[in-house]
Symmetry: C2
C-alpha cells in the first residue's frame, strides 16, 4: 500500500509517526510537506515543517518543545540578541543551525530543496519519503495590524514573535502563483492508494500545499480516496493558534466548518472523507450533508498507542471509501 500524507509540522509529524507504526513492512509513506513557513533569516534558509517532521521521525526532536533539536543550546541566538538584532526572536538553536547551514550551502550551490531534503534525511532516516510541496519559494504572510498600523508580516513573525496575538486581516501566499509541485509530489499523489490530510492547520499548513498551482488538479485526478483528520476538536485547535487564523478569515472554529472550507471532492473540493473526534460526533451529519463522508473516532494523539490507532482508523476509513467508489 502506498500512503501519501499532506502535512504541516507539529500535528503532521505526530500523525505521520502514527501512520508509520500502522503500516506493514512493504507499505510506503510519502509525505508532502508544507514549505510556506520557510524563511530566509540571517542569510540562511529555514524550513520549519520539513525539519519538525524529519527530526520527529528521526528521533532528533525536542519532545517537550515540539520543534528543534534535543540537547539544544542557544548561544548563537543569544549573541544575535547581543548584537541588537531585531530578528533574534526567531528560535535558531545551535544544533538546529547546522541543518539550516547544510540546506543553505546546497541551495546556494543550485541544488533544489527536494534534493537537500533527501540528503538531510540520509542522516535522520525518517522512514518516509519526505517531499517539499514545491522547490519554489513560497512564504505565508499575515496581513495584520501592529501598533495600529496595517502590516504584512511573515507567518513566523506572526506565530513566534507575536504569538498570534495580533489580528488576522488576511493571509497571503507570496510566490504561490509561480510555484509548481515537484515531479515527486505529483507522482506521490498519482500513485497513492490512500491520501491523508494530517490534522495540521487548514489555513497555513494544508492551505499552502493545496494552493500550489496544479496541486488541486492532481488531487482531483487521484485514484486514491482523500481523507482528512480534523485539527479542530471540541471547537478549539488541538494545539497552537489555528483558531485566530480561522476567526480572521471568517471561518468558524469547528470540525465541520473546516471540512466545508476544504470542500467535498465531488463538488470540486478536496475531501472524500473527514474524521472528527468522538466529542464532535454531532458534526458528522452536517459534514455528510455537505457531501463529505464523516466518522467520529478518538483524535487526540496522547501517546504512541492512540496515535497509531488514529492512523489505523484513517487508513481503514479511506480503504472503505475506496471500496465504495
Amino acid at each position: 500500500m502506498r500512503v501519501t500524507v499532506l502535512a504541516g509540522g507539529f500535528g503532521g509529524s505526530k500523525f505521520i509517526s502514527g501512520v508509520r507504526s500502522a503500516i506493514g513492512p512493504d507499505d510506503e509513506i510519502s509525505v508532502i510537506a508544507n514549505t510556506a513557513d520557510d524563511l530566509w533569516i540571517f542569510g540562511v534558509r529555514v524550513s520549519p515543517d520539513l525539519d519538525t517532521i524529519m527530526y520527529t521521525l528521526g528521533g532528533g526532536i525536542d519532545p517537550e518543545r515540539g520543534w528543534g533539536r534535543t540537547d539544544e543550546t542557544w548561544n548563537a541566538k543569544d549573541e544575535l540578541a547581543a548584537y541588537g538584532e531585531p530578528q533574534a526572536w526567531f528560535g535558531l538553536g545551535d544544533r538546529d543551525l547546522a541543518t539550516h547551514l547544510v540546506r543553505t550551502a546546497r541551495l546556494r550551490d543550485g541544488r533544489t530543496l527536494s534534493e537537500v531534503t533527501a540528503e538531510l534525511c540520509e542522516r535522520w532516516q525518517p522512514g518516509v519519503r519526505l517531499l517539499p510541496m514545491t522547490d519554489d519559494e513560497v512564504e505565508t504572510h499575515i496581513v495584520t495590524t501592529v501598533d495600529g498600523r496595517e502590516e504584512v508580516i511573515h507567518f513566523q513573525e506572526f506565530w513566534i514573535k507575536h504569538r498570534a496575538a495580533v489580528p488576522v486581516l488576511g493571509v497571503e501566499l507570496h510566490g504561490i502563483e509561480a510555484a509548481s509541485p515537484t515531479p515527486e509530489v505529483l507522482a506521490a499523489i498519482d500513485e497513492a492508494d490512500v491520501v491523508l490530510l494530517a490534522p495540521s492547520n487548514p489555513i497555513v499548513s494544508i492551505g499552502p500545499i493545496v494552493a500550489v498551482p496544479g496541486m488541486r488538479d492532481a488531487l482531483a485526478a487521484a485514484r486514491a480516496p482523500i481523507v482528512g483528520v480534523s485539527p479542530i476538536i471540541g471547537g478549539a485547535a488541538v494545539r497552537g493558534m489555528a483558531d485566530q487564523l480561522l476567526d480572521g478569515l471568517g471561518i468558524e472554529t469547528s470540525a465541520s466548518a473546516v471540512a466545508r472550507h476544504l470542500g467535498a471532492r465531488v463538488d470540486g473540493g478536496l475531501l472524500d472523507g473527514w474524521l472528527v473526534d468522538t466529542q464532535d460526533a454531532r458534526e458528522v451529519e452536517p459534514i455528510e450533508s455537505a457531501r463529505i463522508a464523516a466518522r467520529s473516532v478518538p483524535l487526540f494523539m496522547n501517546d504512541a498507542a492512540t496515535t497509531q490507532q488514529l492512523a489505523v482508523d484513517a487508513i481503514a476509513f479511506a480503504t472503505e471509501l475506496r471500496a465504495r467508489r
Copy 2:
C-alpha cells in the same frame, strides 16, 4: 596623531592593542585589515582577520586559542560533522556564528563589508576604525599537492585542515585584479601621520593588502613614513606557519629576507623602516644596505607591557624617519 596599521589576524590584533595603549586620547588608529582569508562556508561569509581583531580589541576573544569567542560551544560544528560534511573541519563556534550570520544577512541585503564591519564594531567598540582592505571578494588560495595530486585550495583549508603540512607550490589571490581599496582605506593612508605594518604574515596577511590594485600607489604617495615590524624572529615565525609559506615561495625565513621581499620604499617597495628583534641585531646592516632603515628592539609581545613598548618603539622609529625625510 593619526596611526594607520596594516594587519592580519593574530599578530596584528596583539600589535594593534599595543598601539591603542601607546597613543594619546586625541590620537586615532585606523586598521586596514586583510580580508583575503575570508570565505563562504555553508552559505555564510566568514572574515577571520576582521573578527580576530574585533574580538581581541573588544574583549571577546578566546585568549588561549587566539581566535573565536570566549565561552564558545561547538554544537553546530558537531552537527555538521554528524551530517558528514567534508567542511566540518572549519572552526565555526556557536557564538562566533552569530557574527557570521549578521554579516551574511547584511551582505545579502546589498550592504558592503565595510558597512557591516562598522555595524558589528558598534557592539565591540574596538577603539579603532576597523577597515576591510577592500569591499570586493578576494580569497587567498594555495597551490599544493594533496595525496600526490596538484590542487588549489582555499588558504583556510591549507591552514586549518592541513595545518600547513602540505607543500606550497604557489599562492593565488583570487579576485584581486577586480578588487579596489575602499575610499576609507585610501583616506586612512593619505591622512596618516604614521603607517605601520603589524608583525603579520608577509605572504598571506600583508601580501594581499598591498596587492589590492591601487594600494601600492596609495602607500607610495603617503606623506607618512611606513615602518614594518618583522614577523620573523631568530629565523622562525613567531607563531603559526609563515615559514612554510616563505619556503614555498623561495623566500628565506629571516627578518632581512622578509624586509627585502617587501622592498625599500625609495626603490618602489613598501618600507621606510623595519624593526627586527634584538636577537636579529646582525640583520640591521644588510637591511639598511637594501636602503630600508632598520633598528633592533624587543619584538616578543609577551604581555601588555612588552606589547605596548613595541608599539611605542615602532611609532618613535616612524616619527624619527618622518623627521629625516
